[in-house]
């Protein structure tokens, strides 16, 4: 059951990723990208990280894809076609490079031996159980899965606080930088691009 579900979702996801890369129309490529993000969110749910799945949908589909669409609108013709791209000349080397990379990675994944105390990746057939009774009534992992928002907040505020502060600084810098970079100097065109360009950063700051 789970395996079939995984196969369906991952096949859909890879197909969407491929369509993103190969689609001539940029807006359609963005649309396929959204579908790919959704499939990844489904995979997160399969990995019992539903909070992260919700964040993925919120940040990627709600903000990043909208921003990409805005970018397409402002740089291309409205229809979003990509006439300058010439896939046939570059596609073959690109496909070869991607295929070789995939073969290398999959070779590495299947031949990994694991540390002395761990099982190798290829033989890890099932995840550590979190059902009650296996390791006592409460394990850190089970508590984290059952209330992931709280666990994430506590971790970000205690153990990973420096990373959290740095991320906040990065978001602030991105907010200011995006506005500064995209701001139009000319006075004759009242700029409204500052607001949409800055919002996803602010939004993810509010959720992070």
């Amino acid at each position: 059951m789970l395996r079939n579900l995984f196969l369906v979702i991952s096949t859909l996801g890879l197909a969407c990723a491929l369509a993103t890369v190969l689609s001539r129309n940029l807006v359609r490529a963005g649309l396929w990208l959204v579908a790919f993000f959704f499939c990844v969110a489904c995979l997160f749910v399969l990995l019992e990280a539903e909070f992260l799945a919700a964040l993925q949908v919120l940040v990627y589909i709600g903000a990043v894809s909208i921003l990409l669409m805005f970018g397409i609108m402002l740089t291309r013709g409205v229809q979003g076609t990509d006439p300058t791209s010439n896939p046939s000349a570059r596609l073959a080397p690109g496909l070869v490079a991607g295929g070789v990379l995939f073969l290398l990675l999959s070779y590495g994944i299947s031949r990994e031996r694991g540390l002395r105390t761990q099982r190798s990746w290829a033989t890890t057939g099932e995840r550590p159980a979190i059902e009650p009774g296996t390791e006592g009534p409460s394990t850190p992992r089970r508590d984290a899965i059952n209330n992931m928002g709280k666990a994430l907040g506590v971790e970000l505020m205690s153990r990973y606080v420096i990373a959290f502060e740095l991320a906040g600084l990065l978001l602030t810098a991105a907010l200011v930088g995006a506005i500064a970079v995209a701001h139009r100097e000319e006075a004759f065109e009242p700029s409204s691009k500052g607001a949409p360009a800055s919002s996803p950063a602010a939004e993810s700051a509010s959720v992070a």
């Binding site: 789970l2 995984f6 890879l14 990723a17 993103t20 890369v21 940029l26 490529a29 963005g30 790919f36 990844v40 995979l43 997160f44 990995l47 993925q56 940040v59 990043v64 921003l67 990409l68 970018g71 402002l74 740089t75 990509d82 300058t84 791209s85 080397p93 690109g94 496909l95 991607g98 295929g99 990379l101 999959s106 994944i109 990746w121 290829a122 890890t124 057939g125 099932e126 995840r127 550590p128 508590d143 984290a144 992931m148 994430l152 970000l156 153990r159 990973y160 990373a163 991320a167 990065l170 978001l171 810098a173 991105a174 930088g177 995006a178 970079v181 995209a182 950063a201 993810s204 992070a208």
Partner: protein, 109 residues
């Protein structure tokens, strides 16, 4: 009887998505399309992080959710990267009147 998903399925999915992202980065000319391909690669990395968190052993000094924290950081960086990236592309578009990465060649002499 339900059988769980093996770990390496997730890893293979992530590897394939990463390779597809690489194909996109290499073949597309349009800067925004390149940005989309980079997003695919970042997502693939995120899948790996979460899968290792869920399947691997937990070290007490790393807390209960190290992989998730890392994934959230990747998410944050991706959001910031897209915001700045789109801003840069808009600026380049205004200056070069093109959104193709191979026309930004002022540095090539």
């Amino acid at each position: 009887m339900e059988s769980d998903i093996p770990l390496d399925w997730f890893l293979l999915f992530a590897a394939a998505a990463f390779a597809i992202g690489l194909i996109g980065v290499l073949t597309r000319k349009n800067a925004i399309a390149v940005l989309m391909a980079i997003e695919i690669m970042l997502n693939a990395a995120n899948v790996n992080l979460v899968a290792f968190w869920r399947y691997g052993p937990l070290r007490p000094e790393a807390g209960p959710i190290p992989g998730l924290v890392l994934a959230v950081m990747v998410l944050t960086v991706a959001a910031a990267e897209v915001a700045v990236g789109i801003g840069l592309i808009l600026l380049c578009y205004r200056r070069f009147k093109a959104a193709d990465v191979d026309q930004y060649d002022t540095l090539s002499g």
